[in-house]
């Protein structure tokens, strides 16, 4: 069984999620290789070896400098075909998801996503997929090779094996359409001030606040509880609150003692960033909102009524 793990990197570091998947794959007992694509990235190969890759394929090319998916699909498709690779695994990210899906189309290869585990049962690979907002666990399989798998963010921790991998260089032949997108700008905010990752109480707001001004009452409640403010991607994207406060798959991973969700639906990408909170309280006017499935206390009601009143009550109690 030949397995390849796509190793994503950012600012000169292999990403933890990819290394976790690499460790998982190596743990299944077959030699696993890793692939690193970028410009000036050969130095990362040694790290890949340390975390379980027996062979590390590296394509170093200026056309792979920007983290765009399609040129990477060319590299992966080429390697899979040349080496007869049977399984390609990815850790969920914006970039990896796009690559995995496009590679599935390019190779007519089955892709299973939202995987939380992978097992070998009598020599057959079976993926464990958490589906329908975590309400069901599905055993999924592949009916042909190559098999593609995309793991949910952060399900495995990297394991250092100490071994050194063999480096193999790859020359990528790019398809014309793969070079038609161009990265103009990457604005990567430097965060200042205390990170919400360290806060013991987080009061988070979503689109149910109705308008950017709604964050006023969220900030007041956070202040009364001695906590920090979090936000969903929907409101961060809309410019209501800064990116540094975003909780979820593409934001921060938080696990405070208390998480108060105000006007947040509880989409899976938000949930994965806050489900480790010790106590979750949710206020949402829709009784069917998914957040109620995992909130310790859910109140079906209007944030505009409840949040200011709760702030007053907390203040009155502590004064």
């Amino acid at each position: 069984m030949t397995t390849l793990v796509f190793l994503e990197h950012h600012e000169g570091e292999l990403q933890k999620g990819s290394l976790g998947v690499l460790g998982k794959a190596a743990g299944l007992g077959h030699p696993v290789s890793g692939i690193i694509l970028g410009s000036g990235v050969e130095g990362l190969a040694a790290d890949a070896g340390r975390y379980g890759a027996a062979t590390v394929y590296v394509a170093d090319d200026p056309r792979l400098e920007a983290p765009l998916p399609q040129p990477r699909v060319d590299a992966l498709a080429q390697l899979v075909e040349e080496k007869g690779i049977e399984t390609v695994l990815f850790a969920q990210s914006i970039l990896s998801a796009d690559i995995a899906a496009a590679l599935a189309a390019r190779l007519d290869a089955g892709l299973n996503w939202q995987l939380v585990d992978l097992e070998e049962q009598d020599g057959v690979l079976v993926g464990k997929q958490s589906a329908l907002g975590d309400s069901v666990l599905v055993d999924v399989g592949w009916t042909s090779t190559p098999r593609l798998g995309l793991f949910r963010a952060g399900v495995f921790d990297p394991v250092e094996t100490g071994a050194a991998g063999t480096l193999e260089r790859l020359d990528v032949r790019f398809e014309e359409h793969s070079l038609l997108a161009e990265m103009l700008e990457q604005a990567h905010e430097e965060t200042s001030g205390p990170s919400i990752e360290d806060a013991s109480v987080i009061v988070a707001g979503g689109r149910g606040l109705g308008a950017p001004e709604g964050f006023g009452m969220v900030e007041e409640l956070a202040k009364a509880l001695g906590g920090a403010v979090g936000a969903t991607r929907a409101v961060v994207d809309a410019g209501w609150y800064p990116y540094a406060s975003q909780v979820g798959q593409t934001g921060k991973n938080v696990s405070p003692a208390l998480y108060v969700a105000c006007g947040i639906s509880g989409a899976i990408q938000h949930k994965v960033g806050m489900q480790g909170s010790k106590v979750i309280v949710a206020i949402n006017k829709d009784p069917n909102a998914p957040i109620f499935e995992f909130a310790d206390l859910g109140v079906v009601g209007d944030v505009n009524q409840i949040v200011p009143k709760l702030t007053e009550l907390v203040r009155a109690r502590s004064s």
């Binding site: 950012h10 983290p67 998916p69 399609q70 699909v73 990210s93 998801a97 796009d98 899906a101 496009a102 590679l103 189309a105 290869a109 089955g110 892709l111 299973n112 958490s130 329908l132 907002g133 975590d134 069901v136 666990l137 599905v138 055993d139 999924v140 399989g141 009916t143 995309l150 014309e176 359409h177 793969s178 038609l180 997108a181 161009e182 103009l184 700008e185 990457q186 604005a187 990567h188 905010e189 509880l225 991607r233 929907a234 809309a238 003692a257 106590v279 069917n288 109620f292 995992f294 909130a295 310790d296 206390l297 859910g298 109140v299 079906v300 009601g301 009524q305 409840i306 949040v307 109690r317």
Partner: protein, 260 residues
Amino acid sequence: MKIAVCVKQVPDAAVTKRIDPATKRLDRSGETALNPVDANAVEEALRIRDASGEGEVVVVSLGPEKALDALRKALAMGADRAVLVSDDAAAGSDLVATSYALARALERESADLVLFGQQASDGDGALLWAAVAERLRRPMISQAAELTFENGSVTGKRQTEFGYDVIRASLPAVVAVADSINEPRYPSLKGIMGAKKKPQDVVTLSELGIEPDRAGSAGSRTEVLALSAPPPRGDTRKIEDDGSGAEKILEFLAEKRLVQ
């Protein structure tokens, strides 16, 4: 500009979604709706069409005959035409098979721009556009929260794990939009009445020249083997706010010693 928008009919948000243990497929028998973020994609298409003062918006879907309801909602919002790929043999299509069928339907349209929503609420995939873009051999931008057009190209701003990317792609291109890109309009009564008269084309796989072994289970490369219950959660409690919601929360926080 000619714009195609891929939309999906999904179980309504109020329906508890379940996988039918017999077929191992999603139970689609209950109330349905247009996938919420696909309404954002339709809205964006209408705005682009109306800003340029010309062009056409065609909505495209793969699904059972009743998915026409979702397409009609898009027509009522203002889309010009609908194409539904519907065929019993397409049931159970996975990403490989779905992207193939949609790409064949989209090839007939040769749109300048193909829009997608960022994810179907019933699959949590957030993947399909990338497979379709690859089959159409077009550049793509995913998760776009803002779009601008100039000189035959589209520029999208989108969020990643690290901040914001700005990506430019030459047209024709495939773009998936995030739910924050706009506020979808509600169809007007006039729009709803008018939708009935707009062209609604239902096509079979063979009409698109799709070989039977490339659709449905035969054309899929993944399978569902078994279903089981997820690991148990702790206790959850849900109450209605009858005016005492804030007091109830405070009591709960006090009980958990989360307030002094």
